[in-house]
């Protein structure tokens, strides 16, 4: 009976997340690292994302109205401040931006129907068939990485036989639902199921996201942060970035790791490594 459940587990129901070592005993906590010094802005990852996740091509008109559906977009900035220099002497600044899978996600709180919520393995999931399209999540997302199906794309985005390319592991979203980067959850699920049947945990490098797999410079690293030996876990540790902290006290100098909008206390699961430039050049 629900009431007894409420009373029995009251204390556990009152826990706030994220907290220190939240995933210490968990099997999985998916995380990512993006090295902005390696990223060349070549768009391989974005195209891979289109291919893997059945992203619709919206066409010129819709794109011009700002209705693009790229879960993963590469932003190009010409400077940190508000003034444009005459020449970009140190090149452009590329930023692959996708859902940051926040541990304390602003979108999750406001969804009226709980279509977006946090999974035990630390993903910010989006349940398409629960979504009613209030777009409150997008309104409250500081990164603006949630994309809404403004049109009935299944009817217009894949003229025959393009639909044959669609990935059967990923649903094609109908009009009126919100969608976003899922860390290629279909791949994760498959790998987890495989591992479960073998009675083990998913090994590091066994599964990765489409973007990370494609990236010609391997700027993107993906993996299981609950496994301290995994590539991502090592990098996070090396960069001394604490998942559950909103102010990173770093012991060492010269570390490049940072999270975007840390001060908003969204606790993103994506770690960016600062872009490096030779100032003498």
């Amino acid at each position: 009976m629900s009431l007894s459940n409420l009373i029995k587990n009251w204390s556990s129901l009152r826990v706030k997340r994220p907290y220190q070592d939240q995933y210490k005993n968990a099997d999985y906590k998916w995380g990512m690292v993006i090295d902005l010094d390696s990223c060349t802005g070549c768009n391989a990852c974005t195209t891979a994302c289109y291919a893997e996740n059945n992203l619709p091509v919206v066409g010129k008109e819709s794109f011009s109205k700002g209705q693009a559906m790229h879960w993963l977009r590469i932003e190009r900035y010409w400077g940190e401040g508000t003034e444009l220099a005459k020449f970009p002497d140190h090149g452009a600044q590329f930023l692959p931006m996708m859902c940051q899978q926040c541990e304390s996600a602003p979108c999750e709180v406001v969804c009226p129907v709980g279509a977006t919520h946090h999974t035990p393995d630390g993903l910010n999931s989006q349940v398409y068939n629960r979504c009613i399209g209030s777009r409150y999540c997008s309104a409250n997302c500081p990164y603006k990485v949630r994309y809404f199906n403004w049109w009935q794309y299944p009817e217009r985005a894949w003229p025959n036989p393009l639909e044959k390319q669609l990935n059967p592991d990923v649903t094609v979203r109908s009009k009126g639902v919100m969608e976003k980067c899922t860390f290629c959850v279909q791949r994760l699920t498959a790998a987890k199921n495989q591992a479960r049947t073998d009675g083990r945990r998913v090994a590091d490098g066994e599964v990765t996201t489409a973007c990370a797999q494609a990236c010609p410079t391997s700027a993107i690293t993906f993996g299981n942060m609950a496994d301290s030996q995994s590539q991502v876990a090592k990098i996070w540790a090396r960069q001394q970035v604490e998942l559950a902290s909103d102010k990173q006290e770093k012991k060492d100098e010269g570390l490049r790791g940072y999270r975007i909008f840390e001060e908003l206390r969204t606790y993103p699961s994506v770690l960016y490594l600062e872009r490096v430039r030779n100032s003498d050049a």
Binding site: S62, K65, G66, Q67, A68, R73, E75, M97, P106, V109, V110, C111, P112, V113, G114, R130, C131, I132, G133, S134, R135, Y136, S138, A139, N140, P142, Y143, K144, R146, Y147, F148, N149, W150, W151, Q152, K175, G176, V177, M178, F261, L264
Partner: protein
């Protein structure tokens, strides 16, 4: 005390009522019934013309919605980050509109301010209908309207519930409660008048009113229970009304966006709501006074009081508006400050300045008696005030989307499509349609309370004369 005056001439032309004259204590009660019931008689052609117009407007709105439903929200030219556009802005506008009616009526009722009596009926009707209009926008803005019931907490085998953390769910609950209570309040206040209608009506209408008046005969027992119940509901309604718009404010205040994440939003919203509501009351007051020849009941002194009240509220709103700017300006939230500056200087600057002018400067017209006495000016002013209030809502929504945290998604230009405008206009059609129907089916002036009013006043006068 009741002198039989020959009132054969009232049917033909309006009696002259001097401007300053308040309601006449010696007016025959039968006369009150006659005058009010007359407003419910067979409408004049002009009524049908206006009704047809609003019906057409509503029809167009429905067409736009159907088109949007079929094609997807893309036709509204919404985008990322401009995800809400006019829909939510107009939603807040209507919610705000709904506030004065019931809230003022309740407050004044508790305070025994008898000048409320001739005007509260239509004000409460206004509340109810603007709530029903606001409700439409909640549905209209959904991507999948056909799944709207997911927001309702109903038991199901999957153990899925709405997300009670979401201000939208609070909204749904609050608005539901408010609508129900408002309707109960409106209906209760009407029962004695419905009895009057029953007693005068014939045929089908008689049956109709007979049913609605719940066997009211004005017995002492009925009056006693009625008084207590009505007062209690009034007491409930005051905090409720306040909570409703505070909750609408939390839709924004609870979210994290710059320009929304502001502590003073709830009172700010409530003030804005009362403000637009009062303005709307003035508008309808003037219209009804003219159309139904209610000069004797909706007297200038009452309008005067309403105007002064509106002015006071306008100043409260202005104050809250300014401290919102101030707190952002002196606060350490650089993003919020950025957004504020953007509002004043960016793409939306004209609307923003217009909003501030209409909201804070125009109401000073209400400060002058000469202005307050001029119905035409008051009509224009009240309409302007509501334009300003609509702009306020628009200025809350769009600029924050256009200039939020994330520079990459700053929009350089965004304008709603005709579909959005169509649905917004449609909502006005829908509202006036409902209101016009109400005026013909129910008494827009509370007859029994006007009687109470004149009775008590004449008693008081007698007491003075002794």
């Amino acid at each position: 005390m009741i002198d039989r005056r020959d009132d054969s001439d009232i049917e033909i032309e309006r009696r002259f009522v001097p401007k300053a004259k308040d309601i006449n204590e010696d007016i025959a009660w039968a006369q009150i019934n006659k005058d009010v019931l007359r407003s419910m008689e067979r409408p004049r052609p002009m009524y049908w013309v206006i009704f047809a117009a609003s019906l057409a407007l509503f029809g167009f709105g429905v067409f736009c919605e159907v088109y949007q439903y079929q094609t997807g929200l893309g036709v509204a030219d919404l985008n990322n980050p401009q995800v809400w556009g006019l829909y939510i802005a107009t939603f807040i506008f209507w919610i705000g509109m709904s506030h004065s009616g019931t809230l003022l009526s309740a407050i004044l009722h508790i305070m025994h301010a008898d000048w409320r009596k001739p005007i509260y009926r239509f004000a409460e009707a206004m509340t109810t209908f603007s709530l029903m209009t606001a409700g439409l926008f909640v549905l209209v803005h959904l991507g999948r309207v056909w799944q709207f019931y997911y927001v309702v907490a109903y038991p199901n085998e999957r153990w899925t519930w709405p997300n009670f953390n979401s201000p939208l769910v609070w909204d749904a609950t609050a608005i539901g409660t408010y609508l129900t209570s408002s309707i109960v309040f409106l209906y209760f206040g009407m029962i004695p008048d419905l009895a009057i209608c029953r007693d005068t009506a014939t045929g089908f209408r008689r049956k109709f009113y007979w049913f609605l008046s719940l066997g009211w005969q004005g017995t002492d027992r009925q009056w006693a229970n009625f008084r207590v119940a009505y007062l209690t509901i009034a007491c409930f309604l005051i905090p409720l009304a306040v909570s409703v718009h505070s909750i609408v404010a939390t839709d924004f205040a609870v979210s994290q966006q710059p320009g929304w994440h502001i502590t003073s939003f709830p009172p700010y919203f409530v003030a804005g709501a009362l403000y637009s509501g009062c303005a709307a009351i003035i508008t309808l007051f003037i219209i009804l006074r003219y159309v139904f020849r209610f000069e004797e009941y909706m007297t200038m002194p009452i309008l005067d009081k309403t105007c002064r009240l509106t002015f006071a509220i306008a100043m409260v709103w202005t104050y809250l508006n300014l401290i919102e700017y101030a707190s952002v300006w002196y606060g350490s939230d650089v993003y919020a400050k950025e957004t504020l500056i953007y509002r004043a200087t960016g793409l939306y600057a004209p609307y923003w300045w217009a909003m501030n002018f209409l909201g804070s400067v125009v109401p000073f017209m209400l400060a002058f008696k000469s202005m307050r006495n001029n119905l035409t000016i008051m009509m224009v002013v009240s309409l302007l005030l509501n334009v300003g209030m609509w702009l306020e809502r628009f200025m809350i929504i769009s600029p924050t989307f256009a200039h939020g945290y994330y520079p990459w998604t700053w929009t350089s230009g965004w304008w709603p499509s005709w579909v959005q405008w169509g649905i917004v206009l449609g909502s006005f059609g829908w509202f006036s349609m409902l209101f016009m129907l109400f005026c013909k089916i129910f008494p827009t002036v509370s007859m029994y309370e006007v009687k109470e009013m004149v009775y008590h006043r004449s008693e008081a006068r007698k007491a003075r004369n002794l």
